[in-house]
Symmetry: C2
Subunit: 244 residues, 2 copies
């Protein structure tokens, strides 16, 4: 039985990959992915066969991976972050009934919430919600409702895909919803290019975040009512009591 | 300046550690952690100095780490999963103003939501909330409110610490709250001992989960309204539209 690995390569930095992800990429025959992600790993796995498809060709990319695996090759489909968080493992499973001879294994990676969290300090130390602001595959009403509920639950929140060329004002709109339940002084942070060249972090209040322009390589963190800044880092306490 | 690394070692399996975590543990002078976690890594880092404290001695453990670092040693404080998700990086930062000479760096690991997700399939493919059912440091009303809001937002939900000896009925209570907004047929999954000996997964409905007894080494996953079972795996589709 041939094997299709769905591999999260983490934020981008080679050392933030799991040992297993590196071993699987070392051992497989073909590495398939979105052009940008293939470029991130290429230098570390010389001599491999690489195949790419452009962005938004996800279904074609997954079918390509199954087709290569069906030829008897061991195939690694790579995603940034973790394969299971807005990655490709879901679509691979959705398509899998057509390819019963291909065995699937998901190999973990560090998703942006975790990777960016370490850059900022400890923002997701307590209960948190992860929400993507991309409405490409999700109705905007669904996204707005989730923002509202996450705010009302005083969750720490991590926003993926906070912006794109067509969605320049989505972060502003999201903050307006959160400001209905969260204080304008809530501690927030943004991280650009996590684990890649140009990594940069910035701390601000929710009120300031509302008027901040971010790009599609930015991950946004919004604290809960206890989140504070300690030694220049965004820190959410472990608990609501002070007892140890 | 001496250095204190807060290192997430992942679920337990050596290969699920990040390359960076393994390098830091290899290079540091002292490895400090809860006894169970030290036992998980000990064999892979022979010759290191190990120090442990029992469970619930977190503050003492962190102070021990700072004290060792203050002596000029490079110290690694280890946590299971990721250091920033119910781990030790928050408390380390909270205590850090007393130890200005110690530089802190958080090193990522695979948290149970991510690790368990790969075992189950792709349950957290879309927006999700992570909630701990432990009321040791968090008022129960806060936890109940978060469960309610996460249910109303149709989030996929991952529950940490779903049970302990003193909290035998907490999962049942949590499910009762979620059943107010989620269908009793919602696809759920549990994973025991992620990445450790005895790893086991089980799929069930939310109604069945309510009457299931789990232990403290179990992580619980509750789907959104679109989550389904495909080839024996728990799969949440990437989007709500079918367009590609």
């Amino acid at each position: 039985m041939s094997k299709l690995y769905v591999v999260g390569i983490g934020p981008g930095e080679y050392e933030l990959m799991t040992i297993k992800a590196a071993r699987v990429l070392e051992q497989c025959d073909v590495i398939i992915g979105y052009t940008v992600y293939v470029d991130l790993v290429k230098e570390h796995f010389p001599g491999k066969e690489f195949m790419t498809t452009p962005m938004r060709q996800e279904t074609a990319r997954c079918k390509m991976a199954f087709d290569e695996a069906s030829k008897g090759k061991d195939v690694a489909m790579i995603c940034s972050g973790d394969a299971g968080v807005y990655g490709m493992s879901g679509l691979i499973y959705e398509l899998s009934p057509e390819y019963e001879d291909v065995e699937i294994e998901v190999v973990n990676g560090v998703t942006a919430a975790i990777g960016g969290g370490a850059v900022l300090g400890a923002p997701l130390m307590h209960d948190f919600a992860v929400i993507s602001l991309s409405d490409l595959l999700t109705p905007m009403d669904k996204i707005k409702n989730r923002l509202q509920k996450a705010g009302e639950g005083d969750f720490c929140i991590c926003l993926y895909n906070p912006s794109s060329k067509k969605r320049g004002d989505y972060l502003e709109k999201a903050c307006d919803i959160l400001l209905q339940s969260k204080s304008p002084e809530t501690v927030c942070g943004i991280v650009q290019n996590i684990g890649r060249e140009g990594q940069n972090m910035e701390l601000m209040t929710l009120k300031e975040l509302r008027d901040t322009k971010v790009d599609m390589f930015t991950t946004v963190f919004i604290g809960n009512e206890q989140t504070k800044i300690i030694r220049g880092k965004m820190v959410t306490p472990r608990g609501y009591n002070t007892k140890q």
